[in-house]
């Protein structure tokens, strides 16, 4: 079964005749799909009718056409940016989702929390003089990301819904500029809250759920009653016409259990897609290496993708298989301004309070590990060279995130003229067979721009 992630913008405005949006009859839908396929230009009234048709409550692939129309109607600027994604990929530019770790405060104590080491008690944070994001900084981040053509923002944490100034945060990001997603554990997400989120410009909610039964989920999340709250939250989001998906953690043993199958059946019965997160040996799960997914489990998961509406960070999106999404499709930003390649790579590529976002991203795309031309495997999950030479430096007694110039040397860069604080003579002759052997990213119907590492290194950032 094609999943909703894969289908998003794969065929722009193709629509689907089977969409069950409630205010449209089957005949109307068929006509609508035909009109969309033929490239009909809709009037403002028609677009409004579309947008009021509760399209966001349908989460399956069949609803993508309508959701795109909703986006075109209500967030035309975001829609325009997304339509340029294939071109950006072809030009070796990032189409990253800004994963904004605005606050690490959380009401849960999940056993796999990957960000626990970033948490600092609030009063100590202030006393120690750490610079954190203020609302004015958020506005600047939003402006710079928008100027780079980025179109997605995810507010994550911690638990975003306990942020006191959450509404002001959303306003500072500016919902008109981004497809705006909030992560949540669902604890505070009742019907009233869901309606409020919708009213302030949130488009999608990603709810954490780690079990088909309350016992499994509540134990993993160490929060009795949390499974029931997620059930309420799913219904509340649907009723408020928020796009809702589940997010679940997969580890080696789980994939072989009946519980996993039960979970997928459960998600299917609720008609929600599921983002499957690989457990990584970082944060509170540091050293739990025996439960990491291997290539075998990855293949098994791909089989499940055929049967269920699930996707992982490695699932092709926007119709393009770009492999590892680090920097290219995801860009975590820490509370303290550090820009990281991936939520599980605790490496600082630079700090937003020191350099513009475009410069940091331009330099990162100049690193072989994040080469925008190459279809790399999940480097922090399976690449021994990356784990031993780079990621392991962020384990144990290291302060995180570890700055790039401590773990990378000149051998890791394509253009030796854009290495930031890495010294030109720092190379040790280390090779990168993963990068050397990785196939080029394929972009259907679009020829990848010939690559000039010197000329392109800054172009790619903007």
């Amino acid at each position: 079964m094609p999943n909703s992630h894969d289908a998003m913008f794969h065929n722009p405005l193709e629509g689907n005749a089977h969409d069950p949006a409630p205010i449209w009859s089957q005949e109307e839908l068929s006509n609508l799909a035909k009109d969309i396929a033929e490239g009909k230009k809709f009037t403002a009234t028609e677009l409004r009718k579309l947008s009021e048709s509760k399209v966001m409550q349908n989460t399956d692939v069949k609803s993508e056409g309508l959701r795109q129309n909703w986006l075109k109607s209500y967030k035309p600027h975001v829609y325009d940016k997304m339509m340029k994604f294939p071109e950006r990929i072809a030009n070796g530019q990032s189409i990253a989702i800004i994963q904004f770790q605005y606050d690490y405060l959380c009401n849960f104590d999940c056993e796999h929390c990957c960000i626990d080491k970033f948490y600092v008690p609030k009063d100590w944070e202030k006393a120690s003089g750490r610079r954190k994001f203020e609302l004015e900084d958020v506005r600047r981040l939003s402006t710079e990301a928008d100027a780079m053509g980025l179109a997605n923002f995810v507010i994550t944490g911690g638990e975003p819904l306990i942020i006191k100034e959450y509404d002001q945060l959303v306003e500072a990001i500016d919902p008109s500029k981004f497809y705006l997603v909030t992560d949540s554990n669902g604890w505070f997400l009742d019907h009233k809250k869901a309606k409020h989120l919708k009213s302030i410009g949130i488009d999608k909610v990603q709810l954490s759920l780690d079990g088909a039964s309350a016992a499994d989920h509540d134990t993993f999340r160490r929060a009795p009653g949390s499974w029931d709250r997620v059930m309420t939250a799913i219904d509340a989001c649907k009723e408020a016409d928020l796009h809702v998906i589940l997010s679940t953690v997969i580890w080696k043993d789980r994939i072989y259990t009946d519980e996993w199958r039960n979970f997928l059946d459960f998600a299917k019965s609720k008609e929600v897609g599921t983002y499957v997160v690989y457990a990584k040996p970082v944060g509170a799960f540091e050293n739990v290496t025996d439960q990491m997914m291997t290539e075998t489990e990855g293949k098994i998961l791909q089989q499940f993708e055929e049967e269920y509406d699930i996707f992982t960070h490695m699932t092709p999106s926007y119709g393009r298989d770009i492999g590892c999404i680090a920097v290219k499709r995801i860009l975590p930003v820490s509370r303290y301004g550090d820009i990281m390649p991936c939520p599980y790579q605790h490496i600082s590529l630079g700090n937003f309070f020191e350099e513009p976002l475009a410069e940091i991203v331009g330099r990162a795309l100049n690193m072989k590990w994040f080469d925008p031309r190459k279809n790399m495997p999940c480097i922090c999950g399976v690449d021994k060279g990356f784990i031993e030479n780079v990621i392991s430096e962020s384990y144990g007694d290291s302060e995180v995130p570890v700055r790039y110039d401590r773990v990378l040397n000149a051998d890791d860069f394509l253009d030796k003229g854009n290495m930031g604080d890495v010294k030109k003579d720092s190379g040790t002759g280390r090779t990168n067979p993963t990068w050397e052997n990785a196939p080029l990213i394929t972009v259907k119907g679009t020829k990848i721009k010939p690559f000039d590492p010197v000329k392109d290194s800054m172009d790619r950032a903007t």
Binding site: F118, Y119, R254, Q291, D397
Partner: protein, 132 residues
């Protein structure tokens, strides 16, 4: 006293309970004693041990689920150890020393300042207050 809430992991079998960390003012710059051996990864795959009974100075805190203290041992080596493995007899004469601390992003870089490209006039708290 409320019963300590405990969880046994379905994944690792680890028993876990919710910790209550001490307030930073009671911890920073205090001298603590290791109550357990802490075995860490050193260079080139070797294991290094901060042994039980070692005196350490606490100079930073991180983590909430698994709270850790950043400590210095007698040789000035920095370790991150479980807050549960350090016993502290609070010495009120040892006031927290924070003036020498500086951070680059989320990371401690004593003695080196962040290269700030711009500053903001108001903190979020001030801005929200002003709007009310």
């Amino acid at each position: 006293m409320a019963k300590k809430q405990e969880f046994v992991s379905n994944v690792t079998g680890e028993e876990w309970f919710k910790h209550n960390s001490k307030k930073w003012k009671m911890v920073i710059n205090q001298i603590g004693t290791m109550t357990e051996d802490e075995i860490h990864d050193g260079k080139n795959g070797e294991k290094i041990t901060l042994t039980k009974g070692t005196k350490v100075i606490i100079d930073d805190i991180r983590g909430r689920i698994k709270p850790q203290y950043r400590v210095k041992d007698m040789n000035g080596k920095i370790w991150f150890v479980s807050a549960l493995n350090v016993s502290i007899d609070i010495d009120e004469s040892r006031a927290p020393e924070i003036d020498d601390h500086s951070y680059r992003g989320g990371v401690r870089h004593d003695g080196s300042k962040m290269n700030a490209r711009y500053e903001v006039e108001q903190s979020t708290e001030d801005e929200v207050k002003a709007k009310r």
